[in-house]
Point group: C2
Chain length 316, copies 2
Amino acid sequence: LVALAATAALADPLPSWRDTDAKARLVGFVEAVTDPASGDYVTPAARIAVFDNDGTLWAEKPIYFQVLFAIDRLREMAGDDPSVLNSDALRAAAAGDMATVAASGAEGLLEIVAATHSGLSVEEFEAEVRAWLDVARHPQTGMTYAAMVYQPMLELLRYLRDEGFRTWIVSGGGLHFIRAFAEDVYNVPPEQVVGSTGEARYDAEGPAPRIAKDPGVAFVDDGAGKPLAIDARIGRRPIFAAGNSDGDFEMLEWTTAGDGPRFGMIVHHTDAAREFAYDREGHVGRLDRGLDEAEARGWLLVDMAEDWERVWPAGN
Amino acid sequence: LVALAATAALADPLPSWRDTDAKARLVGFVEAVTDPASGDYVTPAARIAVFDNDGTLWAEKPIYFQVLFAIDRLREMAGDDPSVLNSDALRAAAAGDMATVAASGAEGLLEIVAATHSGLSVEEFEAEVRAWLDVARHPQTGMTYAAMVYQPMLELLRYLRDEGFRTWIVSGGGLHFIRAFAEDVYNVPPEQVVGSTGEARYDAEGPAPRIAKDPGVAFVDDGAGKPLAIDARIGRRPIFAAGNSDGDFEMLEWTTAGDGPRFGMIVHHTDAAREFAYDREGHVGRLDRGLDEAEARGWLLVDMAEDWERVWPAGN
Ligand SMILES: [Ca+2]
Ligand SMILES: [Ca+2]
């Protein structure tokens, strides 16, 4: 029975994916690049796979979970000192007015992030994120945020790693925010997390040196920033890239423009019943150009409602 | 005989290190952190070792080899278009006036680098570096630059990797410059090279997208920049750090201030006969504060003349 179960597992590395074209294309790609007899064989060192995080590995509605963390932290800070709420975006955030927060765009979000992600060391900040993830609940589903990862994507990450890929996260979200849970939740170690970064400072004045997080944004890992960060951090062009919004367009373009076998995929949020349905409209996870160009560019458009047997991991 | 040779290799992972205190301390540290029965045991994932490059893994006199590359490239460019020589530092560089170049300090060096490291894609730039390394010769030794690596340090890199460490380069030199040879020469893959970076731009206008290198410095990976880059790139505090100048001070401080077993080492250039002798004076590889504080901080000061049986690899 154990042997049978093992065989079944080998036979289907992606059990939460339905037997649609999406799954066939994924498996076909992986089998081609890992078969030494294949003309598409790729050496393990070059098997680099990059994944966007928000909306690709976990959910992002009503707004990026990092913003929900920032809002909770902002309220806590404002409880101690109300003067921290010194802008419209900050006041809207503390009041829970998500529509105004979302409409404030990247600028408003960065303001909220700057106010709540500084004045701590990196270690202290990551501990805050982990403590929040332990207790916070999603306003609509009531689930913990770490439970709102996509089971089919967890299987894909694991399948790629089992086949000799290294899996990297390349996210518009904050580097230290994602590192706080990426190893536990995705099995992605800190050195394989690429994200947006704030200003930081080496501080050797106290009893022990620390990396201090300062206000101010140093690098936004979105759009054309993604291939730049991939070059700076990885130094090799990935052969596989997965995203869900136009912020991933250049990452997919860069990945799939390389020589040899390449795979680009976009998670298309089509499942209002089990998750959320959205694409061309809205401020969070907007997918417009990618939707228009995916087919012509040979990118797989994953239809969550059709291609996924389940969305969330069991046991939620 | 094969078995005997294998035993001998196991018995001495550092054959180019003499049997001095330096070697004993290195081996003692590695044995302690890799022995599961030891109170100092460190899991493989946390066995991060960081190495400065210039003056730590390869030589750096009369000036950083990257500057010698830049000067050769500048002359080639000036041959095509003399108007590129539009500053004192650039004119001194093209004239081979090393004293003036060295005295121009970081600013002059960065100017030379900016003029010669831009206008190319990353791939084109790395190909230029490799082509140069194939033919260029050191002005004093007549050796290729890749041959001017320190054999004892190659052994140390390999020894650490054999014992489950991941070895990273954390250099003030240019990221793409070092990546052009790090895998061949040090067995360090591109994702484990940290360095200074210039401005770059994602360019999707041409027939194929490219990462274009622009003039201008984005990040200087020296001094306090080193622990910041280690945080940004690795996301874990190393347990082993090796450097040779005060530009490595903060990297060693950050590394050795962590909990548990830690190792900091400084390569002290004491060997005028076989290499170069220098420390407190000069513009390149200045070691002053590190020399004063190494002992009190428990950092190993490697005496090249005393501790190394040989400097260069065989076959040069
Ligand atoms: Ca996304
Ligand atoms: Ca150095």
